[in-house]
Symmetry: C2
């Protein structure tokens, strides 16, 4: 079992650790220390060694940070975690701060002593984050770099992740790493850059066609790299991690220990490209004037999947869809009031594991019934585990990591007979999901330009949801991948081959939650008869196949093209998944896929 339901937050552990950290601050001669959630690689998941925020505060969310001052410790959390933080931290010692509404710089100015010196670990903050805070502070408060003060006081801190890396086969990667290095190096050379620093592990894995196991749920290798304009790579990685990969990497990928990175940068003639959004402060410090800002060179190429990656993802989704259908068929046979949320998580993981192809789950399954479904990033634990009762909606958001692709699917399932208003909201969410699935749009538009299509059915009813419509997804990499997003904050043009989630939702606090999520890949659209043949437009190809719960649909709220899309989707689901499931599940699926 990959997932655990353990309650990991121990609010009572926070205060003594906080006291120890404050002692270390005093010893270091600083008035504050910022503890981010992030590690040096800015990933969404961190290794146990880097889980400093949770260790100090008890808060286990995937984003946030703590600013410790002598008299107050603010835990900055976004809208998803307002409730969770109150249960996980000792509120007598930690103060939740709504973020980004309150900016760290402003908060420091309000709470720090005059002329305070606030310390940061320059490995854990990006250039952009650092400058944003520094700009706010002006000359009233000084940010200083130190070693990590949490590490000084964390006595049993685990060691760094050190899982062996593996070569990622060409069959799934679709392009060998020499070719990738050559085309990215050409782009560097065209800009006059001698090299680029890469600190995102999924970028390094994509570039070199390697995968690892340093971080749960993410098949990545923690490392740093320098991509050089001559198409060679200097890879800074713990010795032994890539020991078996000498042949795969070849002579043009030189391995060095991670500690050698700063020295290599100090000696480099430059110019070396760094990305403000991911580059640690210490890297920029070391490069000084030889660092030039630009986009991380793998970001966009990694996002635009090639034919092998798309075919792999499609194959992974059929395999994953079969597991989901088996689960749904089983779940439907259980009477209301007999199962708990964790039973569903266990059963679903068991279905996915039946196929030897599963490498890991792609994130902790969200299984939230009734009011728990309204908690957008709910993680079920022994303490919160709830019974699926008559009238509930169950939000089930899960995914798998397969060698050929990463999946992420959400279905909302009726338990017994949910109320009419839940069905009405479900139908609107579905209309938004289908409206986006059916969309064509002019090439060049970004997620921001089209996201409204997935929300409009809710908007017309004066309803909405407080998360983006969709995120990028990697190819056997991170389940949350940038820069592509279906979100009002994304102005990255959508391009052919980008895989994104399409996941509108609706959440009524204390009552129910709804989310429907398919993965889709952007494709060139062919103009139909009567269309504008001269217009370059894109459309989506759906990757995820599993039925949408027809018991929650009010067909009279759907227009004809939306119903037609749904019926065709269900017919395709039956055709593609039917042959892959047990006889019982197939019979259930045939009913679940009947026209509405």
């Amino acid at each position: 079992m990959y997932q655990s339901f353990e309650v990991t937050a121990r609010p009572e552990q926070g205060p003594p650790r906080l006291a120890a950290l404050r002692a270390a601050m005093a010893e270091a001669g600083v008035d504050g220390f910022i503890v981010p959630r992030a590690d040096a690689h800015q990933g969404e998941y961190v290794s146990p060694r880097d889980d400093r925020l949770a260790w100090l505060t008890g808060f286990t969310g995937s984003a946030g940070f703590c600013i410790v001052l002598p008299e107050i410790a603010g835990v900055f959390i976004d809208g998803r975690y307002r409730t969770q933080v109150k249960h996980q931290v000792d509120l007598a010692h930690f103060t939740p701060v709504p973020w980004p509404e309150t900016q760290p710089g402003d908060w420091i100015l309000d709470h720090a002593p005059d002329s305070a010196r606030i310390a940061i670990d320059p490995w854990l903050h990006t250039v952009a984050q650092f400058e944003q805070i520094e700009k706010k502070l002006g000359d009233k408060v000084t940010l200083v770099r130190t070693d990590n003060l949490v590490d000084r006081v964390w006595e049993d801190q685990p060691g760094p992740a050190n899982a062996p890396a593996k070569a990622h086969p060409m069959e799934f990667a679709g392009e060998d790493h020499a070719h990738k290095r050559a085309r990215l190096a050409a782009a560097l050379e065209a800009e006059g850059h001698a090299a680029a620093v890469i600190t995102l592990p999924d970028s390094i894995c994509w570039l070199l066609n390697i995968r690892g196991a340093d971080i749960p749920r993410n098949p990545i290798v923690q490392a740093f790299a320098l991509l050089n304009a001559d198409a060679t790579v200097d890879l800074f990685v713990a010795p032994g991690k890539c020991a078996g990969l000498a042949d795969h990497l070849g002579a043009n990928v030189r391995q060095h220990p991670p500690e050698a990175l700063l020295g290599a940068l100090a000696d480099h003639e430059g110019p070396v490209r760094i990305d403000r959004g991911s580059c640690p402060v210490i890297v920029a410090d070391t490069l000084g004037d030889r660092g030039v800002e630009g986009e991380e060179p793998c970001l966009l190429p990694k996002a635009c999947k090639n034919a092998a990656e798309i075919a792999g993802s499609a194959a992974a989704h059929l395999r994953d869809g079969a597991a989901v259908v088996e689960l749904l068929a089983w779940l439907d046979a259980q009477p209301a009031g007999t199962l708990c949320e964790t039973d569903v998580v266990r059963a679903l993981e068991a279905e996915r594991r039946k196929d030897n192809a599963l490498q890991d789950i792609s994130f902790e399954t969200i299984s939230g019934t009734g009011p728990n479904g309204a908690i957008m990033h709910y993680r079920v634990t022994e303490a919160t585990d709830s019974l699926l009762e008559d009238g509930h909606l169950l939000v089930l958001d899960s995914g798998g990591q397969y060698l050929d692709g990463t999946t992420d699917i959400t279905r909302t399932i009726a338990v017994g007979t949910p109320p009419h208003e839940a069905c009405a909201a479900f139908t609107r969410v579905l209309a938004g999901m289908i409206g986006m699935s059916r969309l064509r749009w002019p090439k060049g538009l970004s997620g921001r330009d089209i996201e409204a299509i997935g929300r409009a059915p809710l908007w017309y009813a004066h309803q909405d949801f407080d998360h983006g419509l969709g995120h990028g997804v990697g190819a056997y990499l991170s389940v949350h991948e940038g820069p592509q997003r279906l979100s009002r904050v994304s102005t990255q043009p959508l391009e052919v081959g980008m895989i994104l989630s399409n996941e509108p939702g609706y959440y009524r606090e204390g009552a129910f939650g709804i989310r429907i999520e398919n993965l889709v890949v952007a494709q060139k659209a062919q103009a139909p008869q009567g269309g504008d043949a001269h217009r370059e437009m894109l459309c989506w190809q759906t990757l995820t196949f599993a039925p949408i719960d027809r018991r929650l649909i009010l067909p009279e709220l759907l227009d004809h093209p939306t119903r037609a899309w749904l019926d065709a989707y269900h017919a395709e689901t039956l055709e593609k998944i039917g042959p892959r499931v047990s006889d019982g599940a197939r019979a259930w699926l045939a009913k679940a896929c009947a026209p509405v």
Copy 2:
């Protein structure tokens, strides 16, 4: 008759004028001169004196510019004017350049001699425009300021506009100018700015509650102003223009001749706010370090109409709607093949003039039948005037200036029996117009975030149109007003009181055009039963009432809420406009407003 159908472009006049300008360039010791369409106030319309681009090139479009070099003269025009420019300029002497695809700086680098000196009139270019070109040119080509070289060679150039200004009554303005000055001055003071330069005439008119007649179709007063942090205004305006307004303006609005502006700026201690987007280069030059960049202080307050302005606009629209309905009823009675485009323009203006309230038309009526309808900014002339024939669609886009409001309405009308594909496209355009009209959206979103709603029905059919969905509209001011727009280029959040057009279209070159346009005003939305009461959302109130041609609608392509909106809109149109029209028109209107 406000509108004329005269062919004003005389391509044969261009070459001798171009030769004279090149002689002036040589005399001034420069290798080029840039002739923009704009005057010093950056309005869409210019006075005859400022119509230098048309005088030089023959091109009469509302946007563009000409860069004259010794061997080539490029006329930069956007997508709307690609065809028109070819008929208006002598192509042996002027070269059309697609813009913004080709940027002026790049074009100059490609065509100018090495180390060229290119001159501009620093009154006619904004700081933003100038810097954008200068940045491209680097140190290869130098931009230099001169007096206007066109004015040197234009012997019979008209004098400056000098129409008398009038006070705009409180009944329509809704806020007296002392109050406006005070609240804007408070905002200046809060930013530490001693004054702000205002060069947009509609801003000055809004701020001081005055209107004028310096420019056709725009009831504005050409002037410059300094809004001071003590809530006084220095108004730089031709003597006599505001002679009758001493009482209205009062002691806190000091008048000076326009020539005094630069001296006043030279003597000013600053800091003086300037807006890069509208401030002439010469103003920024004069201020030097004492100039600080910021938003033009009237821009947003002017865009957010108060209750009196909204009520005035609604009243103006009922009056204007009655004229449009009389025209439509009359038009419907004329057999196909009997009317020309100009007949419709004349008849429509005559209907608007029957009411003494009409001050001017708000722009040249676009009356384009059949293939002419596909020319988005078609201006009918004696040379192009075409017969309304069976099977045509007529695009009729027009508006009026009234003391209480500015209108802008487009209807597309069937002549005889148009083809099915035109009706299908019309129905999609209508679905987009209604989809936007019905929309609610979360407060804080911009035109960019919601524009897709008005395009999606076309997108689904692989169709689209090449203009924005909507533009801001003034309150008895400019029919095109910023900063509010429904467009992918607008990130200005939409706010309560903003008036915009909602005008999707579809254009098939050589065949037909379609556009349907209503004006709408943004309002706070009240959450209905079942809605999220805690969410702040905005919605539209429709201002325009005139029937949509039911003969062009394929009802089976419209979903239920869209049809319901249309039927309710038609019922409201009949109720509001019916009592204002002749018996014959009322009978026609009742049929035109029947449910679909």
